[in-house]
Symmetry: C2
Subunit: 603 residues, 2 copies
């Protein structure tokens, strides 16, 4: 039954040989890797305007140059990742690039930043998308946590089914969003050209002095547009061969669509004299100006909400991939590197869904407090990755290495600036948590790595002398004489010539009967009766075993526990679970092997 349910939800298993067929072509890859990135067009312009508006109408004039600066940043970061993809065709996220070129610690910092970032993307995007839905349908507000978690689980299932099917599932809404954005932009400029700009609104009062710091803050707010841009470089191996070529072309398309639509929206907002407000999003105001409250307006709104919810797909592609890389390097539990039934890293998908759902539940579906954390994580990873690339080109010393290095150096400096600006402006808004969480995660990675390292040494066969089993002592625990016990005695005699039976005296009558019947069924096995003044079975048995320890021959000793297996599950409740307790206690004693000899009941 659970297995049938799994088949229905996740699909039939795929064989390893099918792996190549599950690879993505560029069209589906763009859909799956760009949803996070593209969704930021829905709010990045607004982030800029929300800072500038504090400086009044005058300050709002500075949005186009900031938009251009971010457009250039997109181009720089994308060029950097284009280079990374070709240098690391087997997948080169910030973790790999930083680790290879800068050393383990920077790699782990990048890894920690990205893992946290993926989890936060899932929580924050889901919460925002669901907030859009509950704003439209206030009746759903009390159920927002339930809706959030259901969305996460739905995306989780889609991802457990596998990459190709995920790409299919999400192609329609992603391209729908891009198309509706294109119509909005085209319509907007056409309207501007034919009708001219609308009149200036009322002057906005000045709340803060305008200056370089404000421009930098606005710039760093707009940098939210870049979150998710690294996804393609992490997932090169998900592409059809030739992987690097296909991935880099997809990245270029994504960067072009992202950069141009972001800049176009920023320019339109400027020409339409849009003043940001807490009640309505910039995209909504723009769509209203261009289309009026018609069908196209609602199409833009719906696709925006959907793309925000789908942005989590990128994380569901990126997190398991990164976790599997870190697991292969021994920094995360090995289970993350196991391909599941459907050729996806199922454990990573499940953990991501679990942790992000937990955050949604703990924060009651309102995760705005987490947003600063996640911008810092993204840009820290960018900086480390691009610094690593500079080092890479310098070490390789290939043709035109100076040009390559320069491109990455510009990127590294630009993104480092962003990290510094966000850290300073958002320190009290939660950025300090990063300072606590990142070192803890890195300590965890190192502890895991140390365990796997010491494991190799401890299990190494170099100089190993196999244990001596000898005339190995076997002890059979006997409660009375019945079929299960006689079966266990037969088994014990088959595996060793040195068998002893022990029985705990809980009731003198039962013990006397046992001693009397014994010679008939096991004359060759000595029967030892153990006293139990406190009516415990465990204690006398463990005491006896510890005593025998001293006189045993060989390194191992075996304890046989006859167990009968009831035919119905609830019959288990009708029997003592002493055997289980004894096995648990023996697990922590060296050189002890506990064997349950099952006797299956028919009814």
């Amino acid at each position: 039954m659970p297995s049938a349910l799994k088949r229905l939800l996740v699909g039939t298993p795929l064989s390893t040989a099918q792996a190549k067929h599950e690879r993505l072509n560029k069209v589906f890859a763009l859909a799956i890797f760009s949803s996070d990135c593209m969704s930021s067009v829905a709010y990045a312009t607004e982030e800029i305007l929300l800072v500038l508006v504090l400086g009044g109408t005058f300050a709002l004039q500075y949005s186009p140059p900031i938009g251009i600066a971010i457009g250039v940043l997109v181009a720089i970061v994308a060029s950097s990742y284009w280079q990374t993809i070709h240098a690391y065709p087997s997948g080169g996220g910030a973790y790999i690039v930083a680790k290879d070129n800068l050393g383990t610690m920077p790699g782990l910092v990048a890894g920690a930043a990205l893992l946290v970032d993926y989890v936060l993307t899932v929580s924050v995007s889901t919460a925002s998308g669901v907030a859009a839905i509950t704003s439209a349908f206030p009746a759903l507000f009390p159920y927002r946590v339930l809706i959030c978690v259901s969305c996460v689980l739905a995306v989780m299932l889609a991802n457990l089914r596998g990459l190709r099917e995920t790409g299919r599932t999400f192609a329609v809404p992603t391209y729908g969003f891009i198309l509706s954005l294109a119509i909005l932009i085209g319509g907007g400029f056409y309207h501007l050209a034919t009708h001219g700009a609308p009149p200036y609104p009322e002057a906005v009062p000045v709340q803060e002095a305008f200056g370089l710091f404000m421009v930098l803050r606005a710039f760093s707010g707009g940098c939210a547009a870049l979150t998710g841009i690294e996804a393609v470089a992490n997932g090169v191996q998900a592409f059809k061969p030739p992987e690097a070529r296909n991935a880099s072309v997809t990245l270029a398309w994504m960067a072009f669509i992202l950069g141009s639509s972001f800049m176009a929206v920023t320019f339109l907002a400027h020409f339409y004299h849009i003043v940001p407000s807490p009640e309505e999003t910039v995209i909504s105001m723009l769509a209203r100006e261009v289309f009026g409250r018609g069908l196209m307006y609602y199409a833009v709104q719906v696709f925006t909400a959907v793309i925000l919810l789908l942005a989590v797909t990128t994380s569901f592609a990126g997190f398991p991939m990164l976790a599997s890389l870190m697991a292969k390097d021994g920094f995360l539990p090995r289970q993350f590197s196991n391909l599941g039934d459907r050729l996806v890293f199922s454990n990573g998908i499940l953990i991501l869904a679990a942790v992000s759902s937990a955050l949604l539940i703990v924060f009651g579906g309102s995760t705005h407090a987490l947003i600063p954390l996640y911008a810092i994580g993204v840009f820290t990873a960018f900086t480390l990755s691009q610094t690593g690339m500079v080092k890479h080109w310098w070490r390789e010393h290939g043709p035109r290495w100076q040009t390559h290095a320069l491109i990455n150096a510009v990127g590294a400096v630009a993104t480092l600036l962003v990290v510094l600006v966000i850290s300073v402006t958002k320190f009290t808004h939660g950025a300090w948590i990063v300072i606590i969480v990142t070192p803890l995660m890195i300590m965890g990675f190192i502890a895991i790595h140390r365990h796997y390292g010491s494991l190799r040494g401890q299990l190494s066969l170099r100089g190993f002398v196999p244990p001596k089993i000898g005339r190995h002592p076997v002890v059979v625990l006997v409660s009375g004489l019945h079929r299960g016990v006689v079966t266990a005695l037969t088994y014990a005699r088959a595996i060793s010539p040195n068998v002893t039976a022990i029985s705990v005296d809980l009731d003198p009558t039962t013990t006397a009967r046992l001693q009397q019947q014994w010679p008939e069924w096991a004359p060759d096995v000595p029967l030892v009766i153990l006293d139990s003044p406190y009516r415990s079975v465990m204690q006398p048995v463990l005491h006896y075993i510890d005593q025998m320890e001293k006189q045993r021959d060989g390194d191992y000793m075996t304890i046989i526990l006859p167990e009968f297996l009831p035919a119905k599950w609830w019959h288990h409740l009708l029997h003592n679970q002493t055997a289980l307790l004894i096995k648990g206690a023996l697990l922590f004693r060296r050189g002890k092997v506990a064997i349950s000899i099952p006797y299956h009941l028919d009814q």
Copy 2:
């Protein structure tokens, strides 16, 4: 650590030989067995008056004769149980008497009724006692469920410590209640004699026509006074020898104190012209009339609240005792008949605390809806027990058997009448639940009994041919060559000459290395490589084992799973739990023995 905590809360274990010393003398026994019974004096008179008041001032005149009738009923039931104690000195609750004399089914009905009754007593008494507290301190009202559950757990711990210490713990409040009641009664009659009765209050309007039915309803309400009277007869074995004599003397004292104080309170309420009200209890009104709002008034109130909370002790003494009797007869899981560390039936105590706490949580600390159920249970048990006693005397045909039988017959008829009256008047108030729950419980008892019965047959050695082990096949599951695997192979060769190693091919490189290294460490053991197109370890292994099944020699086959045991608990998370899953799957296949060979890691 958990063991030390247990010692602190429950005390050090007591040896079986100490059992006799843990027995109760009469003074402590009266405290422990009478708290339930005595607590009913706090509300039984009120139950009568609450019915009669519907008939107006005139009807209230009938409380003294009803009080006398119930006093007579107490005497009848107590005489009946006096006879039972001497006829069944090893403990003769309704279950035993009904089963011995009337057959298994009536015994199980009585058993079910009593078990439910004990659980309900704990829930209802705790809820009432806590309601008294939260009425006095309304700030505690939001925490009432927490307080209820804490009270249950406190009483549970006292009972896990053992009978004698429980008796000590509860002697002070029980005797305090009895003493404060005696002062109230003495003071009341003295006040009446010296000052005369207070003037008549305003006439109470008639709401229902007065008649025989109303008198019967009032009578059945007052019968709540009898709940808990059977406790002594169930617990004869808890008394110091001579058990029967001590128990019957204690019962007589209890019945005398109960009957006289109940009748006295009823008479005082009549003479003081007390009209019941929802805002104040009858005891409170009476104490106020006699003492005014002074120290004695508060003493009565406090002792009343405490005795209601302590009433649960009787159930904590009765439930485990009855459950152990039913377990010995095979109608409940055997674990209920195990004496714990402190010579009490710990499992019964734990289950009672768990179920009654669950009821308190589910009903949010307000369990009034359950009260009718529990009166029916008590009187059903009385009726069955006394009918059984009539049969007992008739069968024994001893001296004066007619007198004995007559006493019990009167009791049986009287209590049967009460059952009928409560069933009719309370049917729609929840009595119908009894009709659903009782048969379900009895079906459970019978299913358990059938399992134990069939178990004996299935495990019987009559005609049993021990299994053939022969040249028994041993399969070692190998993931790679390391110390744990080599140890497992050494063990396997020691227990059988017929060893095969199997390994699942998950990665061609690893498999090739394994095959190359193999001859060095285990040249005598054939290594079989299993394909796994779907990357599962479980499936190919189980498939191979099922295939071998067909060609094996002997009835048993052994599968050896090398396991290394990490030194720290969290290291377990870093390893696949495949061995555990395979062991789980093998548990349901006959003739398979799964052995984990532990290899302990040092760090």
